[in-house]
Amino acid sequence: MMRRIFYIIDEALLTVKRHKGLTSISIVIMSLSLLMLAVFLLATDNVLKLVSEAQNEMKMYVYLDDGVSQDEAQSLYQKILQESEVSEVQFVSKDEAMEEFREQLGDDSDLVGTLRANPLPNSFLVTPKEEFKTRDAMVALAGRIEPLRGVEEVRYGREFLDKFASVLKALYFVNGVVGFIVILSALFIISNAVRLTVISRRKTIEILKLVGATNSYIVAPFIIEGAFQAGVAAVLSLALLWGVTVASRNVLPDLNFFSAQKSAVYLLTCVVIGSIGSFLALRRMLKMT
């Protein structure tokens, strides 16, 4: 077993060493096609981050009747806080609401100055727990809070959520389709790049078959080589993408690069794609000779 592994690694290294030119060409081709994949993944990553930020903004406003007393407000506060979905409840008084509103208006704040009474109600700002920041959970929660005595209205931007959900669904779908195409084309390009190396060594494969090498002995070094090439190409594509990300900080200040963990997963995925690609290229080859 060990001998077999040594043989495979030896053979893979030998080819990389002896065919530097071809190896570098195929690495360049691979890194470009992987760059495409990386760009796609980075875009997805950033969009998902935006989505999750938007979901973190999911808050519920509970407006109170004007006649509600301090005690009643206190008990409402307790009741809302006891709901399992709720993580935080914050009281916002009429005056605080008006103050905030004034700030939001900015230059137009003198508009409010003409008001004789404050039309804004006392309210609770309810923050749901992380796992309940979904449309369905919000609907259920609102359904339970709304009938409570002293509650005038519950708002949580339902229409916005509805719209957001369908947009998200569309986004995920498009993302999935594009991702599928990008991964498939990366696989295709890598498989063809490996095929270059394979074809250049058609004679080697033929000879190995003639001297009685089993298919696994012939195939394994190529797969290791493909994995190696794809690994190097993946590192290159990441470096390129990182350069581009840094360079575009001026235009897109919120653009984030992959976390270390995600980079590692990306590298691993590329290595797997490389191995599969070379396996596919070889399968065709072995059938031919």
Binding site: R3, L14, T204, E206, I207, L208, V211, T214
Partner: protein, 281 residues
Amino acid sequence: MTEDATTNPGTQASANTERTVIGVYHLTREYGDRQALEDVSFTIANGEFVFMVGPSGAGKSTLLRMIYMDEYPTSGQVVVGPFVSTRMKRRDIPFLRRRVGIVFQDYKLLDDRTVFDNVAICMRITGASPFSIKRRVATLLNDVGLHHKQRQMPKALSGGEQQRVAIARALVNHPSILLADEPTGNLDPDSAEDILRLLFRINSAGTAVLMATHDHSFVKTFGQRILHLRDGKVLEDHRTGLVGNMGDRLEALRLQRDRERRVDKEIKRQRGDELSTRKSE
């Protein structure tokens, strides 16, 4: 060929595995309309030396390919030791090839590795230990007279030397038969004769040899069993009369040794001259 053998080649072969290395029974191979081989039958016994002669296109290479099962017959059967073409599984082919040494006209060496590694790889793929590989390859390269060139790349060697590497490679796994497809086709007459002599030596050590060639002059000089192929059919399968040819053979060998001795002497003399001139300087 006996009646038994023709009706039931499989059992006949297994009964005779001791003596028969290769059995070819009613072998026919068609490519579309063209018949490359037609009802070819013969057996080769352990330790035999057989020349397969015939013009190009007679089906020699095709026949050899069927023996190492790179191709299968349209009808008929090939038996190589325990391997029977009609009952062969694809994944068994590598194991057949390890018992059959193959030598080609174009050597088929791996240009990206040394002479040593070219021979060694055939043992590495069988999972042999590094020590036994080293020992066996060294012995074989010594046998073919290339021990001193084991670190060189094949392209740095002459044609005859490359073919000797190929022969060493073919022998590395102790095959019971060596198949040679025009092994001297690309060589000058002297190198060709060297290769032929090497093949004879291998044969006298017990390995059967089947050598395809279109060069009749060898066959005339070193009468052996001759399998004459033409248009895909066995025209003749005969052993040249040993008495008459033995004399020729010995005569040829004596002549050769004579020449070698003279050449050797001349080389030594030149060397001596060089040394003495160097000393005098």
